[in-house]
Symmetry: C2
Subunit: 150 residues, 2 copies
């Protein structure tokens, strides 16, 4: 799957869920393969609605069985680290936080404290997850797999 | 319209938009008439997903032509005041920020800085608005109309 194909597929999943994007937002969907080149297995499609100094909101789109690999958001420059709430809108997600596995379905949510190791993977239908958080600083994220480049 | 009727109507609008709530969230929908007793004209229905020290996310449901009256979120206890991004999911909203009138339709959004006067009103179809913000402290809000009790 090319990046363009992933972007189109994510846009279709969002549209199916009734989530309205502007044409510019559809064009700007971020496709992250974490530098591993195995997007369908390890990857994430992201719509960033807003990312100010204080608040960030995104939609995360996961294809069936697609996984976001283990990482944490450490303190950076006076900020205690990113705090994230994941709310599942469609599909099912296995969220692993500090070793605890939590299954989230549409309408379920979980808040992840700063600097806490976590990973997540969609079930067989894929998933759409709203993320509500403090500022995103992807360049500060620490991944467990040293091969990952964000 | 009673509070229970408003809650039920808001839940139906959210379901129509494909927004999944848990039964507990449906029961807990806040119906705010701002102490004025004219809910259908001046009021708001609110689902609070999360409200931590740092981040808040809500869905706001507005019935046709329903209005949230002018207010601001001043600094409070070391916090510079609430920063809000409104993203319209369904319907049309007239958002007035510091005297500028902005029309937002599904997929449109606007960020309101702290301590800035604003009000908003839904169009003829009503509206659903996602709010992404710093911590909500309703008790600190300053409304222009002195009769309002939040």
């Amino acid at each position: 799957m090319t990046e363009a194909e992933a972007r189109e597929r994510a846009a279709a999943m969002l549209a199916d869920a009734g989530i309205v994007l502007t044409p510019a937002e559809r064009e700007a969907i971020e496709v992250a393969d974490f530098g591993l080149g195995r997007l369908e297995e390890i990857g994430l499609q992201i719509v960033v609605y807003v990312n100010t100094e204080r608040v960030c909101a995104k939609e995360l789109v996961l294809f069936p069985r697609q996984m976001c690999p283990e990482h944490r958001h450490p303190p950076a420059g006076g900020d205690p680290g990113k705090e994230e709430t994941f709310r599942v809108r469609r599909g099912e997600v296995l969220l692993s936080v500090a070793g605890d596995d939590i299954v989230l379905r549409a309408g379920d949510q979980h808040t992840i404290p700063p600097d806490t190791l976590h990973w997540f993977r969609a079930g067989d239908e894929g998933a759409i997850v709203s993320e509500f958080s403090t500022r995103s600083r992807d360049e500060s994220d620490v991944f467990t797999d040293p091969q990952i480049v964000r």
